[in-house]
Symmetry: C2
Subunit: 349 residues, 2 copies
């Protein structure tokens, strides 16, 4: 029976973690929700209709950090850098949802469906990193293709939803869209959560660019899959774009593989992979779309893949269209599944 | 002084052609606007505030097809297939905006900024093809890179606006978005102009797929640039996606070039190309966005390019983000510029 501290409990990902824990993912003694003082007064149990054993919402500033078996960090990289090692030193297994520790060699970067072996033993650092949302769905779709034909070169263009900007991002998109529709001549809204207005627009840069011009989201998409897939030399490059969609990140992925393939082989490999739903062009719904792919709860845990094509003049060139709920597949459920693996390995309690 | 017949005059592209002709692009005797009988009663001169010499709107069914120096076909491939050769036989230079004739060897496929030489002499067929909207902005951005370093492999992911679905597409996006915002629980709107609901959604297939799975828009993006650039062996492949944006197509383009380059070299080559506006990440507006790039009339003729990056571990890997007004750069202005070239060459009048 676990005592889990959930830091960032009132945010978009924190709420999804609570829903998953409430559904019985792991045996619980207590969940301690922690958030900034700004969130004081939020009644999570009522808002989310929770029946799990939930402690009162605790301000981070006043929180006694001892006694947690697991600390789920869902409050951004700055809080993770400040709290992560301290919580690990206090004995918790820290599952961090930020980019703070992902590339550290002593921190496993884990997608349970892809590299559960990275959790063969409890890491000495006490830290396990949850990959970036756009990475998780990508590597889950890439792995069957790697097993089938070997990855050579991966080019990714993303179409990322407003929910990646949290509850504030979702609200901004809705409000600004409504304003634009009711008053076409109104001045553009001020840049908000996405650095630029997102309503009926595309923001083609997510996170800060470094001196190469690649933005933080793009650098994560290049580095993290190499670590997770155990392919340090993999050629992989991305452009990441925010789109005016509420939920689900989408990715157009062009992969060059080492051995020639047919589209039927790729489709069969994907269809045989647990956790992937394949869409064939003869299906009633011929491809996944962000507004519908994860609208039902039972679809939220899946990576939805469609538009499988092999280039007519090159049997090494494969395209996939990959869609997943970035808060669920891309964050909360991956984190909770890491806790499940830790329970299974007997590290906790 | 030209007599120009404009078939499809009341559609989204037809209206843009009228605006360009009204601005004095070529010397005009008369413009004869032709449309289907459904458009009867449309007062284009009043709606668009035109002062050019405009004949009354003529139903296609009743139109006397003789006497035009130029016929601009902007009414879709079916009408083009029916009318194109007939109009050419009647003596008009036919500039066709559809996909009907683009790949025919006796029909030049022309982007005046890229391959004006294809119009060195009047084609015996009497037909000139305007490329696909997404092709035009792509090849205008690719050509300076080809001159600089040689194109080897081009991967394109598109983000295409609702205006590509014409006036009906624009109206559908606005109306469905407003409905969704005012009633979150409402059932999804029926599939309309885009085959699937577009409001707060992505439709990752544009046009019908063939037996390879590649959709019509994607096949055009692979074939047309090869012909325009004169590179029949160019490796080029695309995924085309409709996004909930009103105007301007965007493209994330990853190019492998034959000779190593730096980002500064690529930026300088683009900045020196007429008709391209380069955005550097240190600029006040650091990258082009569809909602703003072509909001001012003087920006509508430009191809907007930003996010120039060279992969840190591969000086042959280049990314561009290419934005242009698909109705203007991608259709009307390219067609009218073809007419201007024909005038310059003395083929008309």
């Amino acid at each position: 029976m676990l005592r889990i501290a959930l830091i960032g409990a009132t945010g978009a990902v924190g709420r999804e973690c609570l829903a998953l824990l409430d559904a019985g993912a792991v045996p619980l003694a207590e969940v301690v929700p922690v958030a900034s003082a700004r969130s004081a007064g939020t009644d999570l149990a009522a808002e989310l209709d929770l029946s799990l054993p939930l402690a009162p919402l605790t301000p981070l500033e006043e929180w006694d950090r001892t006694g947690a078996d697991v600390a789920l960090l869902c409050a951004g990289a700055e809080i993770s850098r400040r709290e992560g090692e301290r919580l690990a030193a206090a004995g918790a297994l820290v599952v961090d949802n930020s980019s703070a520790f992902r590339m550290r060699p002593d921190v496993p970067l884990v997608v349970p469906q892809v590299n559960p072996g990275a959790l063969a033993e409890r890491p000495g650092s006490g830290l396990v990193a949850n990959p970036n949302c756009s990475t998780i769905q990508l590597v889950r779709a890439l792995q069957p293709l790697h097993k089938l034909a070997g990855l050579d070169d991966v080019v990714v263009a993303t179409y990322q939803a407003a929910s990646g900007g949290g509850l504030r991002g979702l609200a901004e998109l809705g409000e600004a869209s409504a304003r634009m529709l009711s008053d076409v001549g109104a001045p553009a809204e001020p840049p908000g959560r996405f650095g630029q207005p997102l309503a009926f627009n595309l923001v083609p840069e997510i996170g800060l660019p470094d001196e190469t011009g690649f933005a933080h989201e793009e650098r994560k998409l290049a580095c993290e899959p190499r670590k997770i897939l155990g392919l340090p030399e993999l050629r992989i490059t991305a452009t990441a774009v925010r789109v005016p969609v509420f939920h689900c990140h989408c990715e157009a992925v062009r992969i060059r593989v080492r051995r020639p393939v047919t589209a039927a082989q790729v489709e069969d490999a994907l269809a045989a992979t647990p956790g992937i739903r394949l869409y064939r062009r003869t299906d009633a719904v011929p491809y996944p779309m962000p507004r519908f792919a994860a609208a039902r709860t039972e679809d939220r845990a899946l990576v939805h893949v469609g538009r499988v094509r092999v280039e007519p003049d090159d049997p090494h060139g494969v395209w996939l269209w990959v869609v997943a709920d970035n808060l669920w597949v891309g964050a909360a459920s991956n984190a909770v599944e890491i806790v499940e693996l830790a329970v299974k390995h007997g590290w906790l309690g």
